[in-house]
């Protein structure tokens, strides 16, 4: 092995891949039949980077050569950067050897587009095929789909991979036209459609023929870049919602744009990473997926951006004082879920516990509710003193000032669910 050359390639191609924030290795229950590895349904973080992200997969590009010139991408053809390309065998060897040492759960392979989309896609598929068939590898494989790749290759990819993804990156069509003139949203959407259809077809035939394998058993995901163009949060969550509704995506990731390229079309390189905004979008995403909020409840045309100073659920509650206080002893689940400071788990615990007791703030605290927020929004069987002096005029002020004294907004972990 030419270790120095390999190191150099790995540095270049891992560095270029790191802006894809997805790291999940969950959702695979692949078994090990005397081969190497298995899936872990809930995923495993084998390490953590100094910036606080989970390291679960070997996340690399096959190559950062690219014929396209997307302004937001370090691999764009006009960028003066070092280029490298792995051979199929090199990626296979790295994956197997890292996996055997318990460094990783598997491989996340993406690529710049060299020659043409299908040529690239075929290489990616070949890596997965080799891992599965020659090395009997049952660890996690996440393959990136290449925009405009042919349906046949997409189907083959899903046969070997656990997860497939294709990044929409720029949420609006106009933004994409500006920054990536060679791409249209449709180039990314049509592979998504193929994946959705295949998943459904395989599921159908599994009902009849038990031995039907699973197609992309961990589903598909996508990523949106936040803050590279002028899109509003409302536009972003509308797009995300469509991806969930129409294409059955498991996850949409939001990646705050890291300004490092000089280009008049992009934010200045001196501007910061929009980390808080990114965090708020994840929270909005959770509200849509698990808390029964519709897009239009979270934001609307006259109010198109998430409040950076408070989480979107609290923001919604502030705008809807008429819906509160919620009678904790009797309200149905979907209403309980709307109380700021009450998470999914605590909501279910509340339903259980209230059969035995008349709940008090103390109970809620033990259950794990963030009571410093929740206390302004709940009616107990006994009086809630926190509501005594609140009226429509001072409501916002009281809630906000009590929270402000508790904590400042931190720029930390982005997937924290502060709901």
């Amino acid at each position: 092995m030419d270790i120095d050359r390999l190191k150099e390639k790995l540095n270049i191609l891992a560095d270029a891949a790191k802006y894809d924030v997805s790291c999940s290795s969950s959702g695979s229950n692949r078994k090990n039949n005397n081969g190497l590895g298995n899936g872990s349904v809930s995923g495993i973080c084998h390490s953590f980077t100094e910036d606080g992200r989970c390291v679960s997969l070997l996340k690399i590009l096959l190559t950062n050569h690219c014929i396209y010139d997307c302004a937001y991408c370090v691999s764009r053809s006009s960028n003066d950067t070092q280029r490298a390309a792995f051979t199929v065998q090199e990626v296979v060897d790295l994956t197997i050897n890292f996996y055997r040492r318990n460094y990783i759960e598997g491989l996340f392979l993406s690529s710049g587009i060299f020659k043409n989309p299908d040529f690239t896609m075929e290489r990616l598929v070949r890596v997965a095929k080799k891992l599965r068939e020659e090395h009997h590898f049952n660890g996690y494989i996440h393959l990136k789909l290449i925009p405009k790749a042919s349906p046949e290759l997409v189907k083959e990819a899903g046969f070997y991979a656990d997860r497939l993804s294709i990044n929409l990156e720029i949420p609006t069509e106009s933004g994409l036209r500006l920054l990536a003139p060679e791409k249209k949203h449709a180039d990314m959407i049509s592979p998504m459609r193929v994946v959705r259809n295949e998943i459904l077809t395989y599921k159908e035939s599994k009902k009849k023929i038990k031995s039907t394998p699973k197609f992309a058993r961990a589903g598909q995901s996508s990523q949106l870049i936040v803050g590279a163009t002028q899109e509003s949060d409302y536009q972003i969550i509308q797009v995300a919602n469509k991806l969930y509704q129409n294409y059955g995506l498991r996850r949409v990731y939001y990646s705050g744009y890291v300004p490092m390229l000089k280009d008049d079309r992009l934010p200045a390189t001196t501007s910061g990473v929009p980390a808080v905004r990114e965090n708020r979008l994840y929270q909005a995403d959770w509200l849509m997926r698990f808390y029964g909020f519709t897009v239009d409840e979270i934001l609307d045309k006259s109010n198109p951006n998430l409040d950076l100073a408070m989480d979107p659920k609290l923001a919604w509650a502030m705008r809807h004082r008429d819906q509160f206080p919620v009678p904790i002893q009797t309200a149905p689940l979907n209403i309980i879920l709307r109380i700021p400071g009450v998470g999914l788990r605590s909501a279910y615990k509340i339903l259980n516990a209230r059969r035995f007791h008349n709940l008090t703030l103390d109970h809620l605290k033990k259950i794990g509710v963030a009571v410093n927020r929740a206390k302004y929004f709940i009616a107990f069987v006994a009086n809630n003193d926190n509501l005594k002096y609140i009226n429509t005029e001072n409501f916002k002020q009281i809630v906000q000032s009590s929270l402000r004294s508790k904590k400042n907004i931190t720029q930390t972990s982005k997937q924290m669910s502060l709901l």
Partner: protein
């Protein structure tokens, strides 16, 4: 107070429970009349009423059967996990819970968190589960020239028995050893069967580098490089980092070792 010492095995502990009821009439006494300790040499000088209990397979399995009736396999699992914390007072805590279960055979006693020892037990289970989870993630194998993949660990709690199954189903086509440096025992898998091992040549454990397979250093270097190059420096967060990857694990984490 009566002090009972045993050999630190779970079967030994169950034998103590057997003797407590058989010989010491524990059912009629207060739990704090008894003190169960892990045996150490010359310990008998320290305590007045001292008994060394010899582990007995028959006695321990009779207790196990009884516990199975009272607590179910899930309950026994909790006892074992808490036991593996090896805390100084864990035996007394477990004894108190077992006694509570025996006195209240109709109740699901492990759910009554108002009982201080039940609560304490649950806390230990939680801590041990957390370390087990971390070990599954943080074990790092090094490939030796004999083609065996060796991992050294030093967990706070004795979680090695709890992670074997995971690694057994994951690595079926490589030989591996996981060795607990602190407790000085390990497990070896020859791809078919796993065996307990009591010792490994100290030379190999202290100076594993000398026995690496040819490519080992290269893959370690590649992994370290990878780990560093995926970091986005603009977002560094040292406090969070230490929380996620506590310093005490760094000793065997390839990516955290100096080159």
């Amino acid at each position: 107070m009566i002090t009972l010492a045993y050999d630190q095995s779970f079967a030994g502990f169950l034998t103590v429970i057997f003797e407590l009821y058989q010989r010491f009439d524990a059912g009629k006494q207060l739990t704090n009349c008894f003190n169960i300790v892990k045996y150490r040499k010359h310990q008998d000088d320290l305590f007045e009423n001292f008994f060394l209990i010899t582990t007995d397979a028959d006695k321990s399995s009779r207790v196990e059967k009884k516990l199975m009736q009272l607590l179910g396999s899930q309950g026994i699992k909790q006892l074992i996990w808490a036991f593996l914390s090896e805390d100084k007072k864990i035996e007394n805590c477990l004894f108190s819970v077992i006694r509570y279960a025996i006195d209240n055979p109709k109740q699901d006693v492990l759910k009554n968190f108002a009982h201080p020892d039940v609560l304490q037990l649950a806390k230990w289970v939680k801590s041990v589960r957390r370390e087990r989870h971390r070990m599954i993630a943080f074990v790092r194998f090094e490939k030796m020239d004999s083609d065996v993949f060796l991992a050294r660990i030093e967990p706070d709690f004795n979680v090695l028995p709890l992670i074997i199954k995971h690694f057994k189903s994951r690595y079926k086509n490589q030989k591996w050893i996981i060795y607990d440096m602190r407790r000085q025992y390990g497990v070896f898998s020859d791809m078919q069967i796993t065996y307990p091992i009591e010792s490994i040549d100290d030379q190999i454990l202290r100076n594993s580098k000398k026995y690496f397979s040819a490519e080992e250093i290269n893959y370690q270097a590649l992994w370290k490089d990878y780990f560093n190059s995926v970091n986005i420096k603009e977002r560094n967060n040292p406090k969070l980092h230490i929380k996620q990857l506590p310093r005490r694990y760094w000793k065997y984490l390839t990516e955290k070792l100096p080159v």
